[in-house]
Amino acid sequence: MKESHTGTSSGVLEGRRVEGMVVRRIERELYEVFIGPQHPGSGHMRIIVRLDGDIIVEADPDIGYVHRTMEKLSEVREWLKPIPLLERMTIIDACNVTLPYVNALEKLMDKKPPPRASYLRVLLCEINRVASHLYGFGIFGVFLGHSTMYMWAFGDREVFVELAEILTGARLTHTYHIPGGVRRDMPQDFPQMARRAVRYMRRRLEEYRKIFLENPVIVKRLEGVGVISRNLAADLGIVGPNVRASGIRYDVRLVEPYEVYDELEFEVPVFEEGDALARTWVRVEEIKQSLNIIEQAVDWLERHKGEVIPKEDYERLPKLHKEVYEKTGRVKLLPAHATMKVPAGKAVARGEMGRGEIIYYVESDGGTTPYRVRVVTPSARNAIVFKYVVPGHRLMDLPAIYGSIDYFPPEADR
């Protein structure tokens, strides 16, 4: 970082000292552009792009602008408290992001949720997945200048956010899972609402196809852009719809079914092309599968009654809490829950979020707080795409690739 002259890359201002300007010499032929962190197309991150004409020759993702020390904070909070904390990583996918943490806890404690609780978890996870994909679509649409897609996706996401609100009581930060069960049973009239939402969304997906996915301009922008081959995808270790668009049939719900995913019928859409368009289509197909799962889960929940917390937990509840639980389906936790101890051990749990696989490493030394929580979110693993896939494309392809991998900076920064 040698200071050589005062000026900006667009012109040297000899003899003019500008306060606060850091100057660095770059290669003559290259044009260095800082996209972000205050830029309409960057999100909470910075991509340092070096351009040769219109072609990107180097892209350096500079993430970390919204690092919130999730891992460190988890170490100083009691076992239950990281659940609402970790949700804040991906507030739009709050159920999926904490489920593996709870699963890891359950592995350490040898607890298993009753089937009804498992189905409720799956139900909320799929509702969240649809909402998460729609959010991604909205951002993607506006990145390509398609404001209608943005508005539609965000408007329709509202349906699923409200569905989640009816189920859990919160629009975004549900904090639904507790070790061994869920916090609340389903309301009586929930199945009808869920079915209506599913019917509505299926109809809307047709309209999305017409205005966005088969729009000639959009197709032209996406086809053959940001191609990730099967081997490259495996090499970069990217996750989620991105890896499935490259012909790799990997979905945690399929390879290591958690909760009740092995009892449900669903397909894992896989595309071979590996370009931005294929990644978009994977998301659409996944929304359809999630809608199917929502229907199945709701059907099962209607037919089977049962508890949402393990029997031994239920028996420990005082009389008043039992009454509340019987009457409203709400589980009121005892203070003892907050200070519970977890047997020493190491556990790894993974789950499939909307954006891809999330993996937790939880280590306990037998105390009241986790000894170490390591979380690797899908966006954290997808960030590498900027470095290795973006170069060689045109500058205007950057938003197309960014949107198509559905990168979410707060999730990557943790």
């Binding site: 460190k72 099967r230 270790g237 049939r249 190491k346 790894v348 490493y361 954290a380």
Partner: protein, 164 residues
Amino acid sequence: MNLEEVVELIRGALGDLAKEITVRKGYVEVVVNPGDVVTAATKLKELGFDHVKSVTAVDYPKESRIRVTYHVSSYLRDDLARVIVGLSVDLSRENPVMDSLVGVWRSSEFQEREVYEFFGVVFKGHPDLRPLLLIPELAEKRVLRKDFIVREESIYEGVPHRYQ
């Protein structure tokens, strides 16, 4: 393929390199010597473990060591995709240096940078070892080590006195 079969598979492939193979909850932990890590990683990659899911470091100040674990799995082999293998290395806490595995698994590049900034583990041969998430001043403090204490702030901290 279940975890026990994987243990056999890894034992066959790594032979004496593996100091210890343990089945943990949800993964198989393989501990190797810091000097052997690249060889072991290459062998695992030849087996079909083609990407790194997570690079984790855990600080044990009492035993004065830092354990770095690479959780690896497979995308291209369906049977291996079901399991996660943790390739672990114990490093000294005073001078944590190990060989970078970016040459074997490119997917570990960003996560090694993360371990570098949070724990101060230096990865020899890493192409671009800079802090990833933290600013350099903060990364100096090695914030995820156990001796960095998070100070609890009172709710009035930073509030001017006359409002308290």
